[in-house]
Assembly symmetry: C2
Homo-oligomer: 266 residues x 2
Amino acid sequence: MQDGETLNAWPTEGADEERPANSREKGLNRVLNMLEFLHANQRAIGIGELAKGLNAPRSTTYTLVRELVEAGLLEMAGDGNRVYFGKKLYLYGMAYMRGNDLLRRGRQEVDTLSRETGETSELCMLQSGRYTIVHSSPGNRPFRISSATGLQIPLPWTASGRLLLAGLDRGRIEAMVTQDDLVLPDGRKIALDDFIDDIGKARVTGYCVTSGLVDAYTKCLAAPVFSAPGKVEATMCLVVPIDTSEDRTGELLTVLRERAARLSIS
Amino acid sequence: MQDGETLNAWPTEGADEERPANSREKGLNRVLNMLEFLHANQRAIGIGELAKGLNAPRSTTYTLVRELVEAGLLEMAGDGNRVYFGKKLYLYGMAYMRGNDLLRRGRQEVDTLSRETGETSELCMLQSGRYTIVHSSPGNRPFRISSATGLQIPLPWTASGRLLLAGLDRGRIEAMVTQDDLVLPDGRKIALDDFIDDIGKARVTGYCVTSGLVDAYTKCLAAPVFSAPGKVEATMCLVVPIDTSEDRTGELLTVLRERAARLSIS
DNA sequence: TACACGCGTCTCTTGTAAGAGACAATCGCT
DNA sequence: AGCGATTGTCTCTTACAAGAGACGCGTGTA
């Protein structure tokens, strides 16, 4: 687990104020950080570890955790002193889904798309300025092209990222991308201008394909889902082996765009 | 919507301390109440209304809502000044599900059970002392026997409630049931002793059937899911028309118990 | 046996967040 | 236009939650 020190995981705030110094921190913020931390680590965490990970005082952490557990937002994990998300969060999450047409229908479309094509398919959205996999349905390939739901990835690494930013002006785009985001996992650096060009192209063509960006073995096809004319609310995408033939890629793209368009009507 | 004043919805605390007076309230608690309130109403709520509904001061409510929206736990609903659950809650909820074998597998079992039988099927759990429908899959009957996920119902009203309390001693049971809980929707009152008897029987037989409790038209069949020998972690249940024949009921019960048992292995 | 470490609980202090309330801007109704 | 209700923002006060730190307990290891 390479994110041992995910504590500094949220400076993605944009680039603003904060830092009154080091003094008291509001309880609510501590809680929000705890939730983020758990989400980032995707596993139950000991209370001590949690305190350390967020450098929050131990006493405070104990208090807050107890309150959250009582409220059902967190649960003590089986073995003993570890905590993880609780049932209530699941219930709230389901309520969110029920109240959100796009998400509900999007999940279905993604599921059938991946069933029909056999490829891994995903629904992606912008979540507080970051690209987020909101739902994914694995294909039936022997090697699993994994990508956990809820995973957040820098926008420039993905095809969807290029579509999600379509329609924003240069200023806004720059604001959403840090220098780090432009560095790919393998160390290559994307030029900001290239990225912005890509966005423009994606906007015009109405889809986007990237090859070997996040990893060397996959190609990513993405199509936009509109919530209003011109406003990209989400993307659907397919993750396929990088050596997929031109023809098949074309076919897949057609199906994908069709489904994405159907979602858009909303 | 009959719950216009759900504000007093959380005195279910048990029966304890609280009431320092009327003074200051912790921000975190306000937030927890807000989430509960939204969950109870299942729709986007205006900020003013929210404040009123929780009788929280308006200024505080505005502040907290803003923070939660920034954090992504809440979202401003389409039209303008209403708020509802946010994407982050969905993501956390999905993370919970992924980390929870019982829930994940239980959902599947419920889905296939209702597909195979054509009846409405549910997975239920104890959630902070209340019976909660954690997942439900509608049958294919013309009249929909609805029951929203996340709905909380007094334990004595349901078959599952009797199973979920199996193994607890009288004292604990009494602690989990208020006087109100013993009054059925149609006004009839259940005797506490009868309820406790039922629990005992359910414990021995390993299933429970109730007729016409929550409403006059349905029968409810439930079977326990064990997380450890003797510990009932959840129940699976079927909701069928009250005039379902003895024979069919028997068949359904068999299938149900089989599936519940399969889940139990864990 | 002693020492270092992590856990869970408690107590006391003080910096600050919760809340009261005033304000201007809108909205809807007559 | 005139009135009441609601909405979003701001300021100021003080009650109280966040935090420091001490304590006792169990555990591992030198």
